[in-house]
Assembly symmetry: C2
Homo-oligomer: 365 residues x 2
């Protein structure tokens, strides 16, 4: 039994757990991120791995993004299905099954991938030639995260290979500084600068051989306002901050954004004194980074999450709660929350304007 | 682009991350759990909140289960769609939207819910009468988890109300001892016995008034082999243990089960010395309880998970790994892993026999 989405109706008529976006706050955050990129003279290609909704991605493009960044081929497919035509997959795409999907995707969207391995570059080139498509590439540089990516010295060989092979195009360099996002402000500035230095060194090594990257891509929500002005990046991947969450606010100290993502839960039991139990557990909001916060009721605190239950503690000043009462939570981490849901409500002034399918939830391949 | 499921082909032809079940181990675990329940003279109604696949649920029924247990109405709907006709929703079902779905479901399956609140009982009764269906009820007893459920003394009023109202039937009592699952063995035995005492007290209070519960339901994978023989429960909810995982093995010390759930990942980068990076991160296997373990390669250890990356450390004795190499992981917690996927491969002897949709993933309402 599927219920009709209650468009034009109060959010309170949507069943819980109900994931929702405050459109005014979302628009503010999009304008903030696009504006900071424009001021710094860099392009904005926001990552959609946290939001996963093509409707939201189209809003990013309408708000000034040059395209989007995805984590996986299947995520990019869902975005192409939703009308997005310019996609960076900011990861290595490895193996014949994924490469087959990649070149199929490249037949209906402009696609760029990260590379750090010769054999992989050769396999993508061969598949692209066979499919009659072009796949652009960013040579992935390890800027300190020690995850993927080569040294600046090794980048030259890979860039030359991409330039020489058919079916693939050398777009530039990528260096994602994932390790700096959670650092304290002083360290974050210093380490962002170090990452930028590594990318500049790679750029200089290529320049000495007459190779000019059109794009140097990096930056996350945790450091984009710093990274934008360091002079190394030409394109910023930061995207999660359009939704915001407690980890961005408290852990990463992201300035000037408003909270746009919320989760409404409903009290299901008040039988145990001093507590109320609601229906959003860690299957509705990921908790490996921390617990969500109650914003709708003073004195009501999230004590812990079970799989399907919010264990709420009623501290002094808490209102009397009954089964059926709605509670609004702010997720601790948007990236570990949205993918658990199948839709989010786009809300303005308490009224549901749209229902956005989270089409890329479960897009793991 | 959807690829054909490679039925009858080696698992290695399925793209990664690939969630899969070893059918021999699954059948062993089902026989073990069903056998222990039969020996103890209790019915087995396994919870499917962790497995979420109707194909697997039907296998439980074929293996001796009297029906299944679900966490949510939407999960129960997915199971009814998959041919399951006898379902306990072991939670309170609150609010007009969910109650409307509940009584619709009760028109096509035998449905029982947990209750701990008079108004809620009245609302379900009224909706069931209006829909012309019957919803059975278990009065939920707080056996120490301090989540939902009333005291044994309060149970009498609720049972009487259920008995007196139309459209609903009093099936018995429920007491889920979630708090004991992770305890050390001595504490677990003592606290399981305490929970059983509370349920017996509730049963005795009802018996003094001539009310006989047909069912007393409880028990999880973390204590079912203890709970089965304590003489209080007539029906066990333990179900997650058919898949097994590291938390059941190491944390809950579940005896005699075999590991049945696995996650295959693929190396995507070996550019950073001493490491290999694979394509299953915490979006493919939940990590709030701990990290997965590598079982396919000696000397390869999961150092941490990023959203989409397994960060593997190559210790002494590790083989040389290249992009494309497949790695088999055991999830730390099945319950936080399966829901992230859309299908699991049912594998015997390395060959894919079936592909099971995880139909209840995202069933949060």
């Amino acid at each position: 039994m599927t219920l009709e989405p209650p468009l034009g109706r109060p959010l309170g008529e949507a069943d819980t757990p109900a994931l929702w976006v405050d459109l005014d706050a979302l628009d503010h955050n999009i304008a903030t991120m696009a504006g900071r990129c424009a001021e710094a003279g860099v392009d904005w290609r926001p990552h959609v791995k946290a939001s996963k909704a093509p409707d939201l991605a189209r809003r990013l493009v309408a708000g000034g993004a040059v395209g989007i960044t995805c984590a996986k081929v299947s995520e990019a497919e869902a975005m192409a299905d939703g009308g997005i035509v310019d996609i960076l997959i900011a990861n290595e795409v490895v193996g014949p099954l994924k490469i087959a999907r990649l070149v199929t995707l490249a037949g209906r969207a402009s696609v760029c991938v990260a590379v750090d391995d010769e054999r992989n570059i050769g396999e993508i080139s061969a598949a692209a030639v066979a499919a009659g498509v072009r796949v652009d590439m960013l040579v992935d540089i390890n800027v300190g995260a020690n995850r993927c990516g080569v040294t600046p010295e090794r980048a030259l060989d890979l860039a030359r290979m991409v330039i020489d092979l058919p079916g693939v195009g050398f777009r530039g360099l990528m260096g994602y500084e994932g390790h700096v996002m959670g650092m304290q402000p002083e360290d974050k500035e210093a380490e962002s600068a170090r990452a930028a230095d590594i990318l500049r060194r790679a750029r200089d090594i290529l320049a000495a051989e007459g190779i000019e990257p059109r794009v140097i891509s990096g930056g996350g929500t945790g450091n984009y306002w710093i990274a934008a002005s360091l002079g190394a990046l030409t394109e910023l991947q930061a995207g999660g901050g359009v939704l915001m969450d407690l980890s961005y606010r408290d852990g990463m100290k992201v300035p000037g954004h408003r909270q746009a993502l919320f989760l409404d839960a409903q009290v299901v039991s008040t039988a145990v004194p001093g507590r109320a139990i609601a229906d959003a557990g860690w299957k509705a909001t990921g908790m490996h980074t921390g617990l969500p916060a109650v914003v709708s009721h003073a004195g009501v605190r999230v004590l812990r999450l079970n799989a399907e239950h919010t264990i709420l503690e009623l501290t002094e000043g808490a209102p009397a709660l009954e089964p059926g009462e709605r509670i609004t939570l702010v997720p601790h981490y948007s990236d570990s929350t949205v993918l658990l849901h199948r839709q989010m409500y786009a809300v303005r002034g308490g009224v549901i304007e749209e229902v956005w399918p989270i089409a890329a939830a479960g897009a793991l391949q």
